[in-house]
Structure formats: C-alpha cells, structure tokens
C-alpha cells in the first residue's frame, strides 16, 4: 500500500499536469478565436472569386464549347501530387492520425500511379520522413501564422508541377473546421480546376476589357492559391479546436484521477489513525 507521503506527491503531480492542460486549453481557445476570424474573413474573397470565375467561364463558352486553359484540362501524367496539411504539434487528439489514415487510404486508391507528397506542418514532415514516399517539398511552421504569400508559393509550385506535365492531377488533404467539436478530413481535387457551375446569370453578354482567355489566366491560378489558403486557414482553426477539446478532456480526466487519489488518501490516513487509536486503546486495556 502506498504511504501517505507517496499519495500526496502523486496528487501534487496530477494537480500540476491538470494546471498545464487547463492552461493549454485556454491558450488554444484564444488562438482558435483568432483562427476562426481569419477563416470567416477569407470567405467573401473566395465567394467573389467563384462568382467571377463562373461568369468568365459562362461568358467565354461559345456554342457549348468551353474556353480552354491548361489548368482546366486533365493531365495525362501518371503521377499524382498530394498536398498534406497536418498540424504543427501533437497533443490534439486524433487530429493528425485521422488525416494520415485518410491520406494513406487515398494513396491506396491511386493504384498504378505514383503519389508524390508536398508536406505542410511539422507533424506531416515527421510522419512521412521514413515511409519511402517521394516527397517534393516540406513546409514547417506555416500554420503558426497562416499568410497568403506562403499559400501562393505552395500553389505556384503545384501549378508549375501540373502545367509542366509532371503531375496528372493535384489533390489537397486537410482537416476542415466544421464546428468546435467536429473536424472533418477532406480530400479535394485542386488541379485540374473543376469549373464552378455557371450562376443563374449564365448567358449574359459581358463587355470585355481583356480577352476572356486572359481573364481566365488571371483567375485560375488565384483560384488554386485561394483554395490552398482557405484549406490552410481551416486546418489551423481545426488544429486549435482539436487541441482545445483534447486538453479539455485531459483536464477533466485529471480531475477524476484527483478525486480517486484524494479518496484513497483519506482512507489510508483514516486507516492509520484508526490503527493508532486501537493501539492506544488496547494498550490501556492491557494495563488495567
């Protein structure tokens, strides 16, 4: 049976752990709020871009024949490029493992074609370091402060790879932030760009300052960069949400452990007191 002093030490150590998890939860909650604002802030641009792209594609469709652009056409290369957006740190429940489960399943589905990986986030880099997949790029600490410039560089690299015929298609896998309690692993096709459905305004005759092909060339890379940017923002928010939930659960678990330990401590203390009293009582009884 552990002694009183051992139990007190254990209680103290669990208390310390609980304090840390509680602090981490609070830090994550604050970071989550900022990440969520960034996600919401990026939405209007993404929506406008979809609408404008829809307009340009609808307006450039002549007699049912869509305007062509390299980024709209299926590539014939066998290779598939997959962008993996994982977290920067652990202690966030199944956030990373869920993602890797999904990317592994994705790679199994691509029978016959090789899958190249572009890794974003330290956890992704660590996970795929020794697994023998061809890796085209590693990005660490990109989710601490998600910025458009990084997304642009990543997207440009993918576009370059696709346009030069190195990859037949480009996909992106990330944790989508649905609610604070729910993150959803999403695997989306980035390239070739799936054109948005033309809006209700389809068939409107637009005046052009520049030819439609030039506008397409302007908008399509922006669409890819925006997709990457939004996915990065979502993933960052999802990571904070997952960590917040995990740390909340850990704090609660620590509370339970503390309750049990305290109960045990009291029992042990009471037992020793009882034993002492019995000794005294039986001692005096023997003297009489």
């Amino acid at each position: 049976m552990p002694s009183l002093i051992d139990l007190r030490r254990r209680i103290q150590s669990v208390k310390n752990t609980q304090q840390i998890t509680k602090a981490m939860k609070m830090v994550s909650a604050a970071k989550l709020r900022r990440a969520q604002q960034a996600v919401v802030g990026a939405r209007p641009y993404a929506r406008l871009l979809e609408e404008l792209l829809g307009s340009v594609i609808a307006a450039s469709t002549v007699d049912g024949e869509r305007a062509s652009h390299r980024l709209l056409e299926e590539g014939d290369a066998q290779c598939v490029l997959l962008l993996v957006l994982a977290g920067e740190k652990g202690l966030c429940g199944s956030f990373n493992s869920n993602l890797f489960k999904e990317t592994d399943a994705f790679m199994r589905r691509q029978e016959g074609s090789e899958v190249e990986l572009e890794l974003l986030g330290r956890k992704a880099v660590e996970h795929y370091a020794k697994r023998g997949h061809p890796i085209t790029g590693r990005w660490e600490r990109v989710f601490v402060n998600v910025d458009r410039a990084t997304a642009q560089v990543v997207a440009d690299k993918a576009i370059q790879r696709f346009a030069s015929g190195g990859a037949g298609s480009v996909w992106i896998a990330y944790n989508c932030f649905r609610t604070i309690l729910r993150q959803e692993v999403t695997v989306e096709q980035l390239l070739p760009v799936a054109p948005p459905a033309p809006g209700a305004q389809g068939g409107t005759e637009h005046e052009y300052e520049q030819p439609a092909s030039e506008l397409l060339a302007e908008l399509l890379p922006k669409r890819v960069a925006t997709r990457v940017h939004v996915a990065m923002l979502e993933s960052a928010a999802a990571e904070h949400a997952a960590r917040m939930a995990a740390m909340d659960a850990a704090t609660r678990n620590a509370g339970e452990v503390l309750d049990n330990l305290r109960l045990h401590l009291n029992k042990v203390r009471q037992a020793s007191i009882t034993a002492e009293i019995i000794e005294i009582v039986s001692g005096t009884a023997a003297q009489e």
């Binding site: 960034a38 209007p44 609408e51 637009h206 300052e209 520049q210 506008l215 302007e218 940017h229």
Partner: protein, 131 residues
C-alpha cells in the same frame, strides 16, 4: 448598386453606392446604375465611390479582376485599403524608396518591381489625401 471589394484575407467593402470609379488596367472607368455587364482586369489606383448620402469614399487598390453585373459591382483585389486605414508615412517612405531605386538603378534593381511599388504608394497617398 451594391459595391463589394475583397482581398484574400478579409472583406474590404460591402456597401451601397450610387456611382463608382474603378481603376482598371486600361484606365479609370465610371460606373453608374444599369451599366452594361463588364469583366476587366484591375490596375493600381484609387477606387472612388459615393454612397446614397452623397459622401465620397476612397479605397487604394492593386491588381485583381472586377465584374459589373446587374446591380452589383464586384472587385477581387490583391491589395486594398480604405482611406482611413492607410498609414501615410509608410506609403511616403515606400514611395521615396521606390523613387530612389528608379533614379539611380543599380544592376540588381528590379525596375518593374520598383515602378509597381511606386504606383502602389502613389495610389495609397492619393486615397489618403482624398479623405
């Protein structure tokens, strides 16, 4: 008309306007209600619009694409700042830096980039001054 301006990180404007001046790549364009549908590339410059109360507002813009359709003017910009948000001192120093690069170009000066930077700085100063 509804005027919407957004940059990748945030929405900049979503307001009602009675007239809008757009800085297109090919020059300034005035848009009044019932303008013909239009798609165009944006240049660098100052977007001016007047609201229903007649007050004029400015936004410094750079790059992107604009669409005029029906009752909506939508601008997808790379960079945009409302006149109230502009840090004039920073814009001035950026302009001075760019001009210095242009006046005494060395071998590694990217003239094109310096010119674009100067254009951006001028647009921001103009937008801030119009306030």
């Amino acid at each position: 008309m509804r005027l919407e301006v957004a940059v990748p990180e945030r929405p900049v404007l979503n307001e009602r306007a009675v007239s809008v001046q757009l800085p297109l790549a090919t020059g300034y364009l005035g848009v009044l209600p019932d303008h013909a549908p239009l798609l165009a590339k944006m240049g660098t410059g100052v977007l001016t619009f007047s609201g229903p109360d007649g007050a004029e507002n400015c936004v410094a813009l750079d790059g992107g694409v604009a669409e005029v359709l029906g009752d909506c003017v939508r601008v997808l910009a790379e960079r945009a700042e409302r006149s109230g948000e502009i840090d004039v001192d920073r814009a001035r120093s950026a302009l001075a830096r760019a001009e210095q690069h242009l006046e005494s170009p060395s071998l590694e000066t990217d003239v094109d980039r310096a010119q674009r930077a100067a254009g951006r700085a001028r647009a921001r100063i103009a937008a801030a001054a119009a306030q």
